[in-house]
Every structure is written in structure tokens, then in C-alpha cells.
């Protein structure tokens, strides 16, 4: 089987879903004729025309707001925020409407839509193009937040997001778009379910998005000179979080490291620690270690790699936690 990268996985899925379901459409800045600035929507305009592949005006709130109407009206819009750094313009439509319509109407109306957005650092981009703010969206009841980490899980998760009856924020780690390929065999992923990518006994390691691959590499680095049995969890859904999988694992291993690209404070790692505290504190043999960006404005690219969690940092965090 041919190997594909994440962009291809996403693009193929969109082609496939749009072919099978005529209620799916895409909309966003430059998603049509141009095929998206990362080419994730390439070829859809050619196939489905402007009616189902809409190059929208530059207005993020307008994009989500219009998509909410479309979704209530029976379509399944897959909209794009060109970069997650420009998604805050639509926070009020998300918090005020997309997330609430089901509850507000006691289920009479629902808002099945997907907000795709490339996020995260490491691609030497301009300001606002490198942040990880999944926690903003996760702190909103009624919204699901999904982050794939590989060509293998990106496609099935995007499909699940499109089929989901609720608004799904689908954050794509742009650093992983083209950085590696996999031969993708069909596999089912369920929104709300984390994946144990490797079972183990000694330590639970939780990550997601682009950090996942660095985490796997860091584990390999440790294994080159140390024998240990890590349990590695790919979170995949940030909210609603799969507490059970994490908690069960920590109960078994007694140790945990969480690797997050977002700034330290008020990020997903804190929520994971809180869940462990709630349900597995007495099993802990060491503090849960969080490896994160700092509470600074994400630096421009000359400095960014110093600020993102490095493989070295992950290695050290795992070792320290094992040795605690």
C-alpha cells in the first residue's frame, strides 16, 4: 500500500465524504480555487464547484455563523479557519450559538459541523501562525475538540467528525502535515476515545498532535540505553476527555508524563492532572510531570524551537519521573 502524508489523508477523506454525502460542503478562505493554503481541500472546487466548495469572504465569524445556519438547515459544513490563530474571531459564534443550539432548543435543532484549523508551531511561520489553543475550545460545553496525530488517524477522525451530530473543532497539527508518511490501513476511531498506542507497565505517557511523534521518538531514545515499559496514550479527543483510559493506565503504572505544545497554564495537561488527582491520586508514585510551552507569547520562528517542548526535554521528564 502506498504511503501518504496527513494532508493527503485529510484530502482523500474529504473527497470521499463529499462524494457519498451531497449535504457536505466546504467553506473558508481560499479553500476553493486555491485548494486551501495547505492544499487540504485540493480538487474539491474542481469537482463540486462553487456551490459546495465556497471561497468565502475573510470573516471568520461570518464563516462559522453562516455554517451554523447551513447545519441547522440540513447541510454538513466543513469549514476552515485558515490558521487557528485567526479563529478567535468566531469564539462568540462558537460559545454563544454552535455549542448551545442543541441545549437551547432542547434538541429541536442541532449544529453538525466541523471547524478544521491548522494549529501549532514548528513551521517557521509569521506571528499568530504557531499557537496551540485547544483549551479555549475545550472549556466550552457542547463542543467537541479533536486532534489527530498521524496520517493513519487523521482520515478516520475527520470522517467521524463530519458524521458527528455536534460541532467539532478539528485541529490539525500543521507541523505533521507533510513531515512523515504512513501506509494507512483502515481503522475505526471514535470521538471521545483516546488510543493506547503502546501498552506498558512503568509509566503513562500522554500526548497529542504534533508532540505525539516527538514523544514516540523520545521514548525510542530512552530505550536505546534503558529498558522500560511505557504505556503511551494518544489523546486524540481533547474534549470530552477520555478520563477512563488515562486513569486506568495511571492506576497501573503509578507514574505519568504529559506532553503538551500549548502554554503551561490552563492547558489540557492541567485538566489531565486534575482527573488523575480526582480518580487515581493514591496510585501516584511521583508527581505527574507536564512538559509544555511556557506562559509567554509564542515567539517568532527564530526562537520557537527553543520554546516548544523538545525531545530532550521529554526524555528528561520521563527519566526523572521514572527515577522519582
Amino acid at each position: 500500500m502506498a504511503k501518504i502524508n496527513m494532508v493527503q489523508a485529510l484530502n482523500t477523506t474529504l473527497h470521499d465524504v463529499m462524494e457519498k454525502d451531497s449535504s457536505v460542503l466546504i467553506m473558508g478562505e481560499d479553500v476553493g480555487v486555491n485548494g486551501g493554503v495547505f492544499r487540504v481541500t485540493d480538487g474539491l472546487y474542481e469537482k463540486y464547484g462553487r456551490e459546495r466548495a465556497i471561497d468565502s469572504p475573510i470573516a471568520e465569524s461570518g464563516i462559522l455563523g453562516t455554517a451554523i445556519g447551513m447545519a441547522i438547515g440540513g447541510l454538513k459544513p466543513v469549514i476552515e479557519m485558515q490558521f487557528s490563530g485567526f479563529s478567535y474571531e468566531m469564539m462568540h459564534q462558537l460559545e454563544g450559538n454552535a455549542s448551545r443550539m442543541r441545549n437551547r432548543s432542547r434538541g429541536q435543532f442541532s449544529v453538525p459541523l466541523v471547524v478544521r484549523m491548522p494549529y501549532g508551531g514548528g513551521v517557521r511561520a509569521l506571528e499568530h501562525h504557531s499557537e496551540s489553543k485547544e483549551a479555549f475550545y475545550a472549556h466550552t460545553a457542547g463542543v467537541k475538540v479533536v486532534i489527530p496525530s498521524s496520517p493513519t488517524n487523521a482520515g478516520p477522525l475527520l470522517r467521524a467528525a463530519i458524521e458527528d451530530p455536534d460541532p467539532v473543532i478539528f485541529m490539525e497539527p500543521k507541523r505533521s502535515y507533510r513531515s512523515f508518511k504512513e501506509s494507512v490501513s483502515p481503522k475505526d476511531y471514535t470521538i471521545g476515545r483516546a488510543e493506547i498506542v503502546r501498552s506498558g507497565e512503568d509509566i503513562t505517557i500522554v500526548s497529542w498532535g504534533a508532540m505525539m511523534r516527538d514523544t514516540l521518538k523520545a521514548v525510542e531514545m530512552i530505550e536505546s540505553d534503558t529498558e522500560f515499559s511505557p504505556e503511551i496514550i494518544d489523546l486524540l479527543t481533547i474534549s470530552p476527555m477520555d478520563a477512563a483510559t488515562i486513569v486506568e493506565s495511571v492506576k497501573k503504572t503509578g507514574r505519568c508524563v504529559v506532553i503538551q505544545e500549548a502554554q503551561q497554564s490552563f492547558g489540557p495537561a492541567s485538566e489531565i492532572i486534575a482527573l488523575i488527582n480526582d480518580q487515581a491520586l493514591m496510585y501516584l508514585e511521583a508527581p505527574v510531570k507536564r512538559v509544555t510551552m511556557y506562559d509567554v507569547v509564542m515567539p517568532l520562528f527564530a526562537r520557537e524551537m527553543m520554546y516548544l517542548p523538545s525531545k530532550g526535554q521529554i526524555v528528561r521528564a520521563i527519566r526523572e519521573t521514572l527515577e522519582f
Binding site: S23, L25, E51, R52, I54, S56, P57, A59, S61, G62, L64, G65, T66, A67, I68, G69, M70, A71, I72, G73, G74, L75, P77, H92, Q93, G96, N97, M101, R102, N103, R104, S105, R106, G107, Q108, F109, S110, P112, A141, G142, K144, D164, P165, D166, I191, G192, P240, M241, D242, A243, A244
Partner: protein, 363 residues
């Protein structure tokens, strides 16, 4: 020539009934006697229910309430001008319009007593619930209109309603711009009631009319006397017809007045004069419409007395039913977080119910 005029634009104002109830026959909309009477009755129902709810609120039997007395002609005729299969995307100050769309008196009583259940329209599933985030409902109307079109319902339009203050929000701009670009069959009906809470129109925008804002989007715009039921009907009807024929969106500015407080939490004496209010009393939309109907010989005092009695008894019945109390599932909010089960939510529901029980035990 190097300083060329490259575009000229104009804005018109439509009015049909003058303050004495005399109609301009040239512009008369095509409405049957039954329709005229249905419209009048709906406006009256709106007015009387509004008053009753205000009364209940003042007695502490309802929560914070927006009132709409004086604006009935600015929204009720719009509902008559569209179809049940069209989408209605309202705001929070158009009680009569909602009742015409199939909401019951009980809906209103429930909602303003703090029950989401009041948002469920039992008759029409193309009426969105009340929208409070100003301007944010406008793009929804654009999306609904687009969806209908794409799904092959060539005839469906979306009507959305919002206040003068809401035109200052970015969402107003983005929605009208999207509607223009997407050629969406939407009617944007602005209730220019002169105030946004305490803020008068002239602090809201320097443009002299709201209608002229349509020029910025290359779409139709018109101002209409919002206390003139026939003019509002006609403007919305024409906009709907144009939209159905694929001629795109329209912005309508209905010039009216909020006769009472913004909501029951507001004290309008802090920011506007009694004189101003009095000057608008003379323009009362229901009085004016009644004069017209009377002149036309299709309304009289007997019918008025009967109507008022009927409405009063309907309202009494609804209030009575409502006051008997509603049995409502405490954990319903957990039912509507997601459309799929989520363990974390179910765990919390269990905890919620357990806590509720403990509260009951310990008082």
C-alpha cells in the same frame, strides 16, 4: 475626466398608512379581509400578552423580560408576508411574531420563567429560538437560506430580525456581506426602535439611515415606516418575492419606537424624556391600523370588545395552567450537551443527581 463620479445611490422610504389611518391606494398590498383581520388580531394579542407578562414580572412571577409594545407593526406583518416553510430567525423583542409562527403563550411564560423548554416551538420547526447575542443570528439566516437553495428548495427564504443597535456589530456586516456574495435569499429586517437600551441611534452610527448600509454590500435597501403595518408587509413581501426569484437579499429598516423600558431591569427615565415618548404615542401602530380597518368597514367596536375578551381569556387560561406549576426534569441539561453519549458527562450527571439527593436530605 480625472475626478469621475463612478457610482450613485439612493435610499427610499415607504409608507402607506398615514397617522389617521388613511391609505395610499396606489401602494396598497394585496391582502384579503381575513388576512388583514388576522394581522390586526395578532398585533393585539402581542400587545395584550406583553402587558400581562410585564404585570406578572412586576409581581415577581417572571424573570427579566424584554417588552415590545409599540413595535407590533414592525414585526407582525413580516410574518404574514412570508410562509411557514420559510425560516424565521428572530431576536428577543418580537413576541407577536413568534406567536404567529406557532409558539404558544405557554412558550413565552416558560422561557421567561427560566425554562429552556419555552424555546421549543410546538408547531413550526423552521423558527429558531430567541437569540440574545446581538447580531449573531444574522449569519444563521444566511446559512439557512443558502442551505434551502442548495437542497433544491428554490422557493424558501429566510427572514431575520434585529435591532438598530445590533447593526454596529461585526456580525451584521459579515452577514450582509456574505448574503450579497452568496446571493442568499435573506430578508434582513431591522427594528430601528431608536434606542439600544439607553443609547440613541445617533450614538450608534453616523449614517442617517440604517437602510443606506445596504449600499456597502451592493444589495437592496429600503426604509419603511415601522408603525405602518401595511408598509412593513409590503416591503417584506417585495423582498421575499425578489429573494424567491433569485434576486438576492434585502435590508429593510423599519422605523419604530420602543414605548417602554428595554427590559424590566431598565429605567428609561434615566436617559429619555417623557415628551419623546409622548410624541410616539400618537403614532401607535395598532391604533392606526384599527382606524384603517374601521374606515374600510371591516372592523368595529363590537368586534374589538369580543377580540379583547377572547384574548384575555386565552391569556388567563395560559397563565393559570402555567401557575399550576411545571414538572421539569432537573437533569435535562445533561441530555442536550451532546447528541452522542459521553462518559464524562454521564459521570457528572450521576454526581449531580447524587448531590441533589443530598441537598434534599440535608435541607
Amino acid at each position: 475626466m480625472p475626478l469621475d463620479t463612478i457610482g450613485t445611490f439612493s435610499v427610499s422610504r415607504l409608507s402607506i398608512l398615514d397617522e389617521t389611518g388613511k391609505a395610499d391606494t396606489d401602494l396598497m398590498p394585496d391582502l384579503s379581509e381575513d388576512q388583514l383581520i388576522y394581522l390586526y388580531e395578532s398585533m393585539t394579542l402581542s400587545r395584550m400578552m406583553d402587558a400581562r407578562m410585564l404585570n406578572l414580572q412586576r409581581q415577581g412571577r417572571l424573570g427579566t423580560l424584554p417588552v415590545c409594545t409599540g413595535q407590533e407593526a414592525a414585526f407582525c406583518p413580516a410574518i404574514l408576508a412570508i410562509r411557514d416553510t420559510d425560516w424565521f430567525v428572530g431576536s428577543y423583542r418580537e413576541l407577536g411574531a413568534r406567536l404567529m409562527r406557532g409558539e404558544t403563550l405557554m412558550n413565552a411564560l416558560l422561557l421567561f420563567n427560566g425554562y429552556e423548554e419555552g424555546n421549543v416551538n410546538p408547531e413550526n420547526d423552521r423558527t429558531l429560538p430567541i437569540s440574545i447575542v446581538l447580531g449573531s443570528q444574522l449569519p444563521h439566516a444566511v446559512g439557512l437560506a443558502y442551505a434551502s437553495r442548495l437542497k433544491g428548495e428554490k422557493d424558501t427564504v429566510a427572514l431575520t430580525v434585529f435591532g438598530d443597535g445590533s447593526t454596529s456589530e461585526g456580525d451584521f456586516h459579515e452577514a450582509l456581506n456574505f448574503a450579497g456574495v452568496l446571493d442568499a435569499p435573506v430578508i434582513f429586517l431591522c427594528q430601528n426602535n431608536q434606542f439600544a437600551i439607553s443609547t440613541p441611534r445617533e450614538f450608534q452610527t453616523r449614517s442617517e439611515t440604517i437602510a443606506q448600509k445596504a449600499i456597502a454590500y451592493g444589495i437592496h435597501g429600503i426604509q419603511v415606516d415601522g408603525n405602518d403595518a401595511l408598509a412593513v408587509y409590503q416591503a417584506v413581501k417585495e423582498a421575499a418575492d425578489r429573494a424567491r426569484q433569485g434576486e438576492g437579499p434585502t435590508l429593510i429598516e423599519a422605523v419604530t419606537f420602543r414605548m417602554a423600558m428595554h427590559t424590566t431591569a431598565d429605567d428609561p427615565s434615566r436617559y429619555r424624556s417623557d415628551d419623546l415618548v409622548a410624541s410616539w404615542e400618537k403614532k401607535d401602530p395598532i391604533t392606526r391600523f384599527r382606524k384603517y380597518l374601521t374606515k374600510e368597514g371591516i372592523w368595529d367596536d363590537d368586534r374589538q370588545t369580543a377580540l379583547e375578551a377572547r384574548i384575555k381569556s386565552d391569556i388567563d387560561a395560559a397563565v393559570k395552567e402555567f401557575e399550576q406549576g411545571v414538572e421539569i426534569k432537573p437533569d435535562a441539561p445533561f441530555d442536550h450537551v451532546f447528541g452522542t453519549p459521553a462518559q464524562i458527562i454521564e459521570d457528572q450527571r450521576a454526581r449531580f443527581l447524587a448531590e441533589l439527593e443530598k441537598e434534599a436530605d440535608h435541607g
